[in-house]
């Protein structure tokens, strides 16, 4: 790895510029071009952040799971799989948080309360907790390979939460007559521009995700090398403990 300031490369720099442009475009379409919604009013604009961010979070967690599987399956287990998995999970948690916040803000506007103990909201909260737990497990210590193995297994368990979240609404609905509100998707009537803005959001956030992951996994690589350097120092100190 050639010594370099920061974790960027010309490529990521260009990608960063693209991300910026996409976000600006999203802001324009989301706030200016697309009109207010019939029953949601202006508040519908939150959707352009709320929905893409959760979907990108899904993507992030799936990437984590895939990389974890790759790590476990590969003969020559390369730690870079593990680092990508970790980076992706971190960014994913970030996006879930965004979706939670925007969602509850939207909730305040459209149902007058930040939070209800409805299936989707709660399952989303659990999704968040699950991956916070995953990140905590990554910090448990032990050797890098131990960390990789342990967290890879956990990632493959955690991914099961996503279908739970996704189908929670239908699952709970179908089983139990309880007014579940957070399924606006069905009652938000979408005109073309809205739909476009929504998918513009998806594209922009995905690009943002890729950009962040690239940087983060390089960061993790550097962290590991720094840890190795620290170990070198500790080892020589330890050797000098010898009395005889």
């Amino acid at each position: 790895m050639t010594p370099r300031r920061g974790t960027g490369t010309p490529a990521t720099a260009r990608l960063g510029a693209l991300v910026l442009a996409l976000l600006v475009a999203l802001a324009l379409f989301g706030l200016v071009f697309s009109g207010p919604d019939r029953d949601q009013g202006e508040s519908v604009r939150i959707m352009y952040v709320h929905v893409p961010s959760i979907w990108v979070a899904y993507i992030a967690f799936i990437v984590t799971a895939v990389c974890s599987a790759a790590y476990l399956s590969k003969r020559n287990r390369s730690l870079s799989w593990d680092r990508v998995a970790g980076a992706s999970a971190e960014i994913g948690v970030l996006f879930v948080a965004v979706s939670l916040v925007t969602g509850s803000l939207w909730g305040r506007l459209s149902w007058g309360t930040y939070w209800v103990w409805d299936a989707r909201l709660t399952s989303t909260a659990f999704l968040f907790i699950t991956y916070v737990g995953y990140l905590a497990v990554r910090r448990l210590g032990g050797t890098q390979r131990q960390r990789a193995r342990r967290s890879a297994v956990l990632a493959l368990l955690a991914i099961l939460e996503i279908p739970l979240v996704h189908f929670s609404v239908r699952l709970w609905r179908s089983l139990h007559q309880e007014a579940t509100v957070a399924t606006g998707g069905t009652d938000v009537h979408m005109d073309g521009l809205m739909l476009f803005s929504l998918f513009l959001g998806l594209v922009a956030f995905t690009a943002l995700y890729v950009w962040l992951v690239l940087h983060r996994q390089r960061g993790l690589t550097l962290e590991d090398t720094v840890a190795d350097r620290g170990l070198d120092a500790a080892i020589s100190a330890r050797r000098s403990e010898a009395v005889g």
Binding site: T122, F126, L127, I129, T130, V132, G133, A136, V137, L140, G141, G142, Q146, R149, R150, V153, L154, L156, L157, L160, E161, L164, L171, S174, L175, H176
Partner: protein
Amino acid sequence: MSRSRIARSVARKDLRIEWNSRILTNQVAPFAAIVMVLFAFALDNEGILQRVAPGLVWLATMFSMLVVIQRSFAVESADGALDALRVAGVDPVAIFAGKSLALAVQLLVLEVILVFTAVVLYAVDISASGFGLLVVTVPVATVGLACVGTLYGGLAAGVRGRETLLPLLLLPVVAPVLIGATRATESAFASGGATVSEGWPWVGLLAVFAVLFVAVGSVAFGPLIDE
């Protein structure tokens, strides 16, 4: 040495430890029962008790389960037995199966006590069909709980910092079981006007989780407890 025989001897060992120390019968069960009584005190306004009784039963089960799990792995790490198990090259799948089995048995005892307490304390009257539903719900839910509990209990054993995670990791996974079991029990208790027929689909959900956790647990336990 066949896997199932080792699993059985692990389970027998755990149950014998329980039998010798009587932690469950003398400590956890009374505790759980008293918790129910306290609930009765704390929540006894406008007779909402009947309505929330099912939820309370399964919450009490959850909390007691945490105690039982911690205990079940405390005995392993108390004098370094877990290391000994690892060095003995005992098949992790067997350990998982054995400990889950023992945990399931203990949970069953607990749940029976709790349901009984609930019926008595909260004046729940339960129909024959509701009883049938309950008889299916409890074991199915228990299998799921026992497996997932053992799985994460194993992760939480060993290194100190880890135990921090047990509730954190357990909650999201257990929540569906908790909900399913609660809803099914509500129908069984006919609390809040729920009907028995509404309960069965939930039992189906519980079954799915049970199968899932059995499979996942057997695969994942080894790597998780293993340093």
